[in-house]
Each structure stands twice: as C-alpha cells, then as structure tokens.
C-alpha cells in the first residue's frame, strides 16, 4: 500500500464517512453514519453522493414500512484510497510526534 493523499477524501467529512465505513461493518445505515460522524442529514447526503459518483461508496436504498432506509458500504476502490490516505496522515502524525517529544501518543481505546 502506498501512502499518498487522496484529494477526494481529503475534506474531513468525506474522510469521516469513508473511515467509518471501513471500520469493519459490512453496511452502515444512514442515521448510524450521520450520528457517528456528527454531521447533518444534508451534509451526509451531499458528501455521500460525491463518494458514490467516484465509486468509493456503494449505496443501497430500501424501506421499512413507509420509512425509507439508506445503507452505505465502502467499495474495494474506496478502501484502497482510504488506506493510502490514512497511511499518509499517520506518517504526518509520526513526523509531528518526533518533532515534539512531549506530545502524547494516540492509541485507540479498547474494551
């Protein structure tokens, strides 16, 4: 995997959407993604459309009764782009940590 920035997932909202979809779930529902990312319905709709057009995200629409339900999944192409972008960000983080020795190392919380 090559660590390189991807201009499409460069904005934080799209990075959040892709990062959350890559987190291990097969499909994530609209409301779950919106709440986890902390964004509004309209922002998620707009940004997911951009990612869908770029074939980074697959969208499945359905309904439960009269309530529409939209599900998202990251495509293989989107995953590859995200991994490259995250690796690039991690390199930046590492470089920053090295330049400022007192800076705490960020570790994901475990159960």
């Amino acid at each position: 995997m090559t660590a390189k920035p991807d201009p499409l997932i460069h904005p934080i909202t799209r990075l959040s959407i892709c990062g959350l979809l890559a987190a291990g779930a097969d499909w994530v529902e609209f409301a779950a993604l919106r709440d986890a990312a902390g964004i509004s319905d309209s922002v998620l709709s707009k940004q997911s459309r951009v990612l869908e057009d770029a074939r980074y995200v697959e969208v499945r629409k359905g309904a439960v009764g009269r309530r529409p339900r939209t599900w998202f999944r990251l495509t293989a192409e989107g995953r590859q782009a995200l991994e490259g972008h995250l690796a690039w960000l991690a390199q930046l983080e590492e470089a920053l940590s090295a330049s400022t020795p007192g800076r705490p190392v960020l570790v994901p919380r475990s159960e």
Partner: protein, 167 residues
C-alpha cells in the same frame, strides 16, 4: 469545509467517531433473551424423539425450524436497531485476493463446538436413560452459548473501534 490534509488531528477525530459507531453496536434488551430462547430450542432437539409420538425427523424439524426462524428474526432486528450490519459473514475477500478472518471468529468457532458437543452429549445421556443429566448439559450449553455470543458482540465492537484493520 475545513482542510485536514495537513492536520493529523483528523486521525484522532476518526478514532472518536469509530468509538461512537462501536457504541451503537449494543444489542437491544430483547436480543440476548431471544438468543437464549433460540439456543434452548436448539438444545431441546435431542429430546424430541422421546417427547413426540411422530417420527424423529418430523419432531426434530418442528423444533429446529422455529429456532432458525427466530434466529433470522433476531439478526434482522439487531441490524435494524443498531443500523450496523457486521456479521456473521466469516470471510471477506479483499481486492488483492487475500482473505482475513472476521472479528470474533474464535467466539464463532466456540459457538459451533459447544453446540455439536452438547447435542452429542445430550443424545448419549438420553440413550443411557439419564434425561435429567441431559437437561443439565443443555442448561450449561445455553449459558456457554450466551457467553460466546456476548464475546462475539464485544469482538465486533472492538473491531469497529479499532478501525477494522483500516489503520
């Protein structure tokens, strides 16, 4: 929209967001009792030949079919309640052709091993005229399956929190 390409704090934000997503993967109140009912029905299977007058195959199906139906209903309900579909697919094919195991696979294997071992033990005990011991084995097996199921959900949450291997 803020530019984050030169801001590694974006990684920390992503970790926080993944934690939020993982926290959604908590089963609703009815899920674990429902799973217990499914396993109780499953482990009642070996008793079917003794309890029903119909041929064994029919009576076993009469227990297993509702158990499988409830199982699918629970999975559908969990997906709907959490908004996350994260299993129980055991393998995922990556673009480069490699395979990796889903989170909680050890718990999944434990579920399978306990179910086969318990059903076999129950059948042997029933054949030897020890139905009370078989009931005890079934009760222990349900408890073990519940513990494994909770471990499976914990592993899925852990995987969501850790980013599923996506850095």
């Amino acid at each position: 929209m803020p530019d984050v390409a030169r801001d590694p704090a974006a990684l920390e934000l992503l970790r926080v967001q993944r934690s939020r997503l993982a926290d959604r993967m908590r089963p609703p109140w009815w899920y674990l009792p429902g799973v217990a009912i499914v396993w109780a029905l499953f482990f009642a299977g070996p008793f079917s030949s003794r309890s029903f007058s119909s041929p064994r195959s029919v009576s076993t199906w009469a227990i297993l079919v509702p158990a499988v139906a409830v199982c699918f209903l629970l999975q559908w309900g969990l997906t709907r309640a959490t908004g996350i579909k994260a299993g129980p697919r055991p393998l995922r094919v990556l673009r480069d052709g490699l395979f990796y195991y889903r989170p909680g696979r050890p718990a999944g294997i434990a579920i399978a091993v306990v179910s086969f071992a318990a059903v076999g033990t129950e059948a042997a005990l029933i054949r030897h005229g020890l139905p009370v011991a078989a009931i005890g084995v079934a009760a222990l097996a349900v408890a073990a399956e519940m513990a494994a199921q909770q471990a499976l959900l914990r592993a899925i949450r852990q995987d969501l929190r850790g980013g599923g291997g996506a850095a």
